[in-house]
Symmetry: C2
C-alpha cells in the first residue's frame, strides 16, 4: 500500500544501468542550472539603485558603469569556470578546486560556504516567490510560512522523482521567463532607438550623503547579487550528457550571454526611464509598465518573475545533493549521502536540503529580507576560494597560456574578495556574522566526522592479521530464555541444541506463579536440557539474565555466550500492547556487552 503510493508519486524505481539516461541535455541543463542565476536579474539592478539613491537622483547614473564592471567580473568568472570545468570534468565547483589546489582546510571552508549557499538559495528563493505571490494577493500574507513550506515540499517531491523529470517540468517556465524578458528588452531598445522613450518626471530625492568611493563599492557589492548562481554549472558537470565537460562549458557560455543581455538591458533602460527604486514596487515591474503599458504583457512579466524566483530553488536542489556526495565520498559527511535512491537521485542529500531550508524559513518566519544578508558572504567566499585555487593551479602546472589564465583568475579573485569584504563589513550586524559562524560550524562537523571514519577504518583494518585466516572455533554456550513451556519455546530449544553442544535453559522466577507449572512440564516433556531457575527478588528479568551471563563468563574465560530469545509475533499490531517488551530490553542490554550475542527466533501467531 505504502509502496503503491510511493510509486504513484515518485514513479517506478530505476535500475542502476539507467543512470546514464538520467543525464540532462544542454537545453534542460541550461534551464536547471541557470534559473538561480537568471532570477537575480529580477533584483540586482534595484540593489545598485538602492545604494546610490542615498547620494541623490543624479547618482543613479553611476548604475551603468557599476553594472558594466559587474558584467566584466561576470565574464572573468565565466572564463574561469569554463577553465575549471575543463580541468575538473567530473564536477568541480569551489570545493573540488580548493581541495586540489589549496589543501584540506580551504576546501572545507569552500564546502561549508557552498552548503550554506545552496541551503540559502532554496530558502531565499522560495521565500521570495511567496513574497511576490503575497504582494499580488495580500490576503495570503498570514500564511506565508505555510505557503513557503508547501512550495518547498512540492519542489522536493519533483526533485525526488529524478533530475531529468524535474528538469523538464522546470524548463518550461524558465524558457518563458527568458523569452518574455528578451521581448521586453527588445521592445525597450526599439523604443530607445526610435526615440519613443518618455522618461518619468524627475522626483526630488533627499540627499543623505555625498557620493563616496565606499558607496560605489557598496553598490558594486550589492549589484554582485547578479553573480549568484553562476557556479551552479561547474558543480553539476556530471549531470550533463556526454561529452559532459564540453556540454557544460557551452551551457555556461549561453547562460552568461543571456545574463549579460538581461542585466545590462534592465539597468540601461531603467536609467533611460528615470526609474527610482521604491519600497512598494520593484524596479522591474515599473520598467515593464513603462515599456508595455498596463496590458497583458506587463502581467506576464510579473507572473514569470514570480515563477523564476521559485525555480531558483531548483538550482540548489540540482547541486546540493551532488556536493554532499563529494563531501561524503571524502568522509566529511555521513556515508548515507553517497547512496543513490530509488529514482537514481541522492535522496538523502535532497531531504537534508529540504529540512535545512525549511528550518531557515521557519526560524526567519519566511522573510527574504532577513535571509539575504546571510546569502552574499557564502557566495563570495566560494568565488574567492575557487578563483584563488585556479590561480595556484596555473602556477603549479604552468601549461600553455598559464600567465594569461592566472591573470584573469587573479583579477576575479581580487574583485570577488572585495565584494566579500564589502558585504561582510556592510552587512555584518544584519546577519553576516551568523553565516560566518555557521560556516565554521560546518568545518567543525566535517572534521569531527572525518576523524570518526578514520578511527573506524583503523579499528576495522585487517592489514595486520595473518593470512590465510584461521577461523578457530572457540568455546560456545547457548542460553535459552524460557518464560513458560509453550510451543513458541520448542523451536528455540531445537535451534540451540543443533547449533551448540553446551545449552542451558533459564527461567527467571518473578512471582513463583510460573515456576511450578514449568518444572512440572519440563519433567513431562524431558527436553534433555538443564533448566536453571534464577530468582529475581526485584522482579526484573534483564538484570538477572545479564548477571547470570556475567557469572558464566567469569567462570569460563574465553567463552562466547549467545542468548537465544524466543519471541512470538502477534497477528495484529495492537496485540503488541498486550505483551511485555522483555525481548527488546534483553537485546538492548546485549547491545552494550562486548562478548555476548543473541539469536532471535520468532514464532508467528496465526490468529
Amino acid at each position: 500500500m505504502i509502496k503503491k503510493i510511493k510509486r504513484f508519486v515518485f514513479g517506478k524505481r530505476l535500475p542502476s544501468w539507467e543512470y546514464k539516461h538520467q543525464r540532462l541535455s544542454k537545453k534542460i541543463a541550461l534551464a536547471v542550472f541557470s534559473s538561480d542565476s537568471l532570477s537575480s536579474v529580477a533584483y540586482a539592478t534595484e540593489e545598485i539603485l538602492l545604494v546610490l539613491i542615498a547620494a541623490g537622483a543624479a547618482a543613479l547614473a553611476y548604475s551603468l558603469p557599476i553594472s558594466l564592471v559587474i558584467i566584466g567580473l561576470l565574464w572573468i568568472l565565466i572564463t574561469s569556470y569554463r577553465q575549471t570545468i575543463k580541468a575538473y570534468p567530473k564536477g568541480g565547483g569551489a570545493y573540488i578546486v580548493a581541495k586540489d589546489n589549496l589543501g584540506k582546510y580551504a576546501s572545507l571552508f569552500a564546502g561549508g560556504a557552498l552548503m550554506w549557499a545552496y541551503i540559502l538559495t532554496v530558502a531565499v528563493s522560495v521565500a521570495a516567490g511567496v513574497a511576490a505571490l503575497t504582494s499580488a494577493f495580500p490576503t495570503l500574507l498570514p500564511y506565508k510560512v505555510i505557503l513557503a513550506l508547501v512550495a518547498l515540499v512540492l519542489i522536493t517531491v519533483l526533485n525526488l522523482k529524478g533530475t531529468k523529470e524535474s528538469g523538464i517540468i522546470f524548463a518550461i517556465p524558465t524558457y518563458f521567463f527568458i523569452a518574455i524578458f528578451f521581448f521586453m528588452i527588445i521592445v525597450g531598445f526599439i523604443k530607445y532607438f526610435t526615440g519613443q522613450i518618455v522618461p518619468m518626471p524627475m522626483e526630488t530625492i533627499p540627499v543623505i550623503s555625498g557620493l563616496t568611493l565606499f558607496m560605489l563599492f557598496r553598490a558594486f557589492s550589492s549589484g554582485s547579487a547578479a553573480l549568484t548562481g553562476i557556479e551552479a554549472v561547474s558543480d553539476g558537470v556530471p549531470a550533463f550528457k556526454k561529452p559532459e565537460s564540453e556540454n557544460a562549458r557551452k551551457t555556461l557560455l549561453i547562460m552568461a550571454v543571456i545574463l549579460t543581455i538581461l542585466f545590462f538591458g534592465i539597468t540601461f533602460l531603467s536609467l533611460q526611464y528615470n526609474i527610482v527604486p521604491h519600497h512598494d514596487r520593484t524596479v522591474v515591474s515599473v520598467l515593464a509598465q513603462n515599456i508595455f503599458g498596463n496590458n497583458m504583457f506587463f502581467y506576464i512579466v510579473q507572473t514569470f518573475t514570480m515563477l523564476i524566483l521559485f525555480l531558483a530553488a531548483n538550482t540548489g536542489f540540482a547541486d546540493f545533493p551532488r556536493l554532499s556526495f563529494f563531501l561524503a565520498k571524502d568522509k566529511f559527511l555521513p556515508n548515507q549521502f553517497t547512496q543513490l535512491g530509488e529514482r537514481l537521485v541522492f535522496t538523502n542529500g535532497i531531504l537534508f536540503l529540504t529540512a535545512a531550508s525549511a528550518a531557515l524559513i521557519i526560524v526567519f518566519k519566511g522573510s527574504v529580507h532577513n535571509l539575504i544578508p546571510l546569502y552574499a558572504v557564502g557566495v563570495f567566499t566560494t568565488f574567492t576560494l575557487s578563483q584563488t585555487g585556479m590561480v595556484k593551479r596555473s602556477f603549479r602546472l604552468k601549461d600553455k597560456g598559464w600567465k594569461k589564465k592566472a591573470l584573469i583568475n587573479s583579477i576575479g579573485a581580487v574583485m570577488t574578495f572585495i565584494a566579500l569584504i564589502v558585504s561582510a563589513i556592510t552587512k555584518f550586524v544584519d546577519g553576516a556574522w551568523v553565516i560566518i559562524i555557521l560556516i565554521l560550524v560546518w568545518v567543525f562537523v566535517f572534521l569531527k566526522i572525518e576523524s570518526h571514519y578514520k578511527k573506524l577504518a583503523n579499528q576495522l583494518s585487517v592489514s595486520k592479521l595473518k593470512k590465510p585466516l584461521k577461523l578457530k572455533s572457540e568455546k560456545h554456550m547457548m542460553i535459552v530464555l524460557v518464560p513458560s513451556f509453550h510451543k513458541g519455546i520448542i523451536k528455540s530449544l531445537r535451534f540451540a541444541k543443533s547449533f551448540c553442544k553446551d545449552v542451558k535453559a533459564i527461567h527467571v522466577d518473578l512471582s513463583g506463579a510460573q515456576k511450578e507449572k514449568l518444572l512440572f512440564k519440563w519433567k513431562q516433556f524431558k527436553p534433555d536440557i538443564d533448566l536453571i531457575i534464577l530468582d529475581s527478588p526485584y522482579r526484573v528479568i534483564t538484570e538477572v539474565v545479564m548477571n547470570y551471563i556475567d557469572e558464566i563468563e567469569k567462570k569460563n574465560p574465553g567463552i562466547d555466550v549467545t542468548l537465544v530469545i524466543p519471541e512470538f509475533v502477534p497477528k495484529k499490531f495492537w496485540h503488541h500492547l498486550l505483551h511485555n517488551q522483555t525481548s527488546l530490553r534483553l537485546k538492548t542490554a546485549i547491545h552494550f556487552r562486548k562478548r555476548t550475542s543473541y539469536i532471535s527466533i520468532q514464532y508467528h501467531l496465526t490468529e
Copy 2:
C-alpha cells in the same frame, strides 16, 4: 545517572519479601481509603440544597429527612460491604462480587464502571482542589490545567514511592481535616443546645416550581454524592495488615461513623443557620464563618477543605492499580498490570491512571463542573451491581441469617438503583451519556483482550504434543552478511562456522565499489566459506537478501535459515548517525518471516 535520580526520587528498590511490610495499619488505611469519601461531605449538603432551592426557601427543610435517608442507605451499604469484606477477604469490591455471583458480563460492567469511577475520582478531586485554590488566589486561574497536572504528577510520584510511604504522608492532612470538622460541629452543637445560634435573615428566593416527588428523588440522588468512595475499603482489603479482613471491617465501620457525624452535623447546622446555597460561596464555608466568625478557625477549615479535595485523588491511586491487577489476572487487561514495580506497587496501573486522568483534565479544561455528571453514574452502577451480587450470594449459600442479609442488601440494591436511574436521567444531557458509552467501551476492550489471550493460549498449548519431546535437529543454514572485509566480520564468520555446517557468505553489490576489494581480500584471507555476490540493480540491501533466502527456502524444503548480522557498536551515541541502519532493516524484515531467524553479533569500537 538516570538510576541514581530514580533512586533519589522513589527510594531504593524493594525485594519481593518486603511485600508484607508494605501493608497499612488501620490508622493509615483509614486516612488512605476514607479521604475520597470524607471529601464528599464538603459538597454533599450543598448538592441537596441546590436542588430543593427551586421550590423556595421553605423546601430547604426537606434536606434533613433526605440526608437521614442517605445516612440510612450509607449504613445499609456499610453493613453490606462489611459482609463483602468477610466473604471476599482477598479484596472484593463490585468487580469480584459481580464475577462470583452475577457472571462474566455483569462483572465486566462493574469493572468498567469502577475503572472510570476511579479515573474520575482522581480527575475530579484534583480539579476540585485546584478550583478551591484558584478561588482563594484568582490570579492563578489561567493556569488551572497546568496546576492540576502538577498536582497530579506530585500525587503520582508519591504513590510510586510505595503505598505505605504515600499513606503516611497523606494521613496527616486527612486527620487534621477530620479534627477541625469535628471541632466545628461540636462547637455548632454546643451553640445550638445553649441557644446561641443566630439564624441568618431569611432571603426571598423565587419559587421556580412546586415541590414534587421527582424533585425529592433528585435531591436524594444529588446528596448521594456523600456515598462516593465508601467502596474503597472493600477494593483494598489486601493492603491491610493481618488479619486483613478483620482490620478492613473495623476501618470501614470507623469511616462510616465519621462520615455520618460530619454529614449529619453539616446538614443539621446549615438548616439551623438558614444557610441558602449560592454560586459564589460554598455552604461549608458559610457554615464555618457562622460558627467560628471570621477568625483563624474559619481559615483552617477552608485550607483543609482544599487539602482533602486533593487527597481524595489518593483513594483512586490506592484502589485503581489493584482493580486493574484483578482484571489483568483474569485476562481482561494487559498482563503488564499484574507486575509489581521496583517499589512493590503496581507501577503500570498507577501510570495508566495518571495518564487517563490527565487526559480527562486536559479534555475538560480542568473544570469540576463538567466532570461531575460523569461521576455519579459510574459510582451507582458499581453499588447496584455489588448489592445485587450479595443478594444472589445469600440466596445461593443460604447460610445463617441469610434472609436478613438478603433483605438489607435488597434495600441497598433498590435504593442505589434509584439513585443510578435518577442520575442517569437527570444528568443524561450533561454528560451521563458519555460515561455510559465509556463503560461500554471498556467492556468491549476487556472482551477483545480476553479473546486475544485465549487464542494465544490455544496456539501455544503443548497439551497435544507427544511426551517426552524429541528435539530433532533439522536442516540448518547460516548466511553471513559481508558488507566489506573488516575485523567486525571475522567474529561473525567464526560463530557461523562453529554453529552450522552449511555456511554461506553473501555480499550485496550496490555500486561495484566494494566488490573488487572484497573479492581480493577474500582470496588473501581464504576464510573457507563460499562468498556469493548478489547484484542489486535498485541499490537496496534488504530486499535482495530476502529474495536470496526465499530462493534457498524454495530449493531446500524444510530448511531453517539463520541470517548472521555483524554490527559494530560505536563508542559515542552520535556516531550512529554516521552509519546506515541496514541491520535494523534486516531485523525488521526477518520479524515478518515465519521460518527465518537472525543472530546479531556485535563488534564494539573502542574510539
